[in-house]
Amino acid sequence: MNSGSDLLSIKSLSVNFGGLKALNDVYLDLHPGEVVGLIGPNGAGKTTLFNALCGLVDVTNGELILNNKKHDWPKPFELPKLGIARTLQGVGLFPDLTVLENVMIGASIKSKTGLISAALGFDKKDERALKEVAMSALERVYCGGIADRKANSLPYPVTKRVAIARALVSEPQILLLDEPAGGLGAPDIEWMNLLIHNLASQSAIILVEHHMDVVMNVCDRLYVLNFGEVIASGKVDAVREDPAVIAAYLGVSH
């Protein structure tokens, strides 16, 4: 691939859990402005790949290239600085915080005030600015009206939107979306399609998703995982016709 303009490139990534090879020699490239779909049956290693990228599992072997530079596999706390944000499978909002506060946590990287000055109340300007970016992120997912609601009082489809607002508020270069349409009904899925298109104008996206209509609709390229290995990759239409993919995944579930 044209590795000259890679935002992110994963080469021969392997993750072993004891004797189990969760990922074996996996590769993935992401170019600026691209939406890359990561699909495969349950247990294929999709979330493990995200976890490896977020420092949640130990990488057995593999190389990571960010912005054309070789980079160590990041620790979780380094992600915001690297411009990587992730939504979690399920919901993952902080239930005791309000919607606005949840999104403000997502914007932590933008806050310049130290904790001590914040505790002493010298962060008024910073807080206002933070609130503003959080509000506009919420408005982007059409949730401006519920900013003061507690996160645990929201219906499930709305929490999905807030989770995306929380990820996009830090203006990441790379957005990892883990099943954004999981558990949603038809109208919300339609809406999620539009939102992901909209997000792609700001960030490059890697998308793990089971809903094939979403995947086919929003992705530029696909990687198909099965038993921890990439069995196909390329343009959506080409992958869709691939007999190995049909056998492993599409043919079975659809």
Partner: protein
Amino acid sequence: MAKSLNLFKRENKKVSGAFNQAKWIRGFTIAAIAVWAFYAFVVDKLPDSLSSFFQSWFPASSINESLVWVICALGLNIVVGYAGLLDLGFVAFWAIGGYCAGWFMSDFFYQVNIRFGTMTPKEIPGVHISFWLVLLIGALVCALFGVIIGAPTLRLKSDYLALVTLGFGEIIPQVFYNGENIAGFNLTNGSKGISPVDNIGIFGKKLGPFDLDWKYFIFCCLTALMIFISLKIRSGKLGRAWLAIREDELAASMMGVPLMRSKLAAYAVGAFSGGIGGVAFATHVNGVFADRFTFSISIILLAMVVLGGMGNVWGVMVGALLIAWVNAAGLPAFGDMVNGALGTNINFPSYNFLLFGGVLILMMLFKREGLLPESRLKSLMHETDDASSNVGTH
């Protein structure tokens, strides 16, 4: 999607329980003055039977100590309730605050004669610093110790963290208890303690040890200060960080919340309040005595926080007042009543831990979120654990 939810229009309505400063300050002031006025003017004029009822069940003398408990419980609430770090050694900060009062407000260090803003006569040697400044010193020293104690525990998960704090909570009072000869230097006067501590000076007036009304108002102000700090920080960046860490440390970290610094800040702010409580308590009992700082204080404080409702300032205050009252007045009065009625001779106050233990077990079984829960905690606690894991493996 729920039809009732308007996702587009901003709601002007404030969230219930949101930070409403003017309102709670007004309510708190009225309550404080009402309690004082009741004891100062009303109780004596009541019919004898009613008056003696109040004096045995709600004696005025136990109120000030209750407020010290409230101050310390509010501090522990920051560590346990906000940041979710189990601390079983909070008595250490109460003790350090107390000894700051002992060192800086008495004639204990008779070798020197250092004074600042004090009304103690010049002839008395020792370090005599104004109560108000010592409050700040005690609180800051405690905050420093909070960081020192917190630092090595940061990488530990809940059970181990609790054990380490338990250790520190035992070590520090022991150091004070055995500190009369540290390489030939008498640091703490050992089991004899440091007494008396200087009187509080306020508005050019020197308060005697029995000026309980003044102390009541001073302690009320300190309590209000701690409530203010708790609410203020909760509504800001640090409070958000604490709650995020409490709920999902990993997710918080992935979003750029600094885990280490936020946790250290929780220890520091919690200890700060323990220091204020410690200094206040030293002036309340007019001295510091090492044998008072027992493990049971840490447990009682934790019971106050859990009983009241972790994370909710008002709940913790109610829990602290309730348990402090049971300890100081409720249980003895109840015991007198039962013993009087049945002709028995049971020492009820000595069974206080039986009662607290029982209450805590019942709370955990039937009302885990406490008497006055942080409204949001409620739904969380009664949820089954199915949705607890966000990071699955696919």
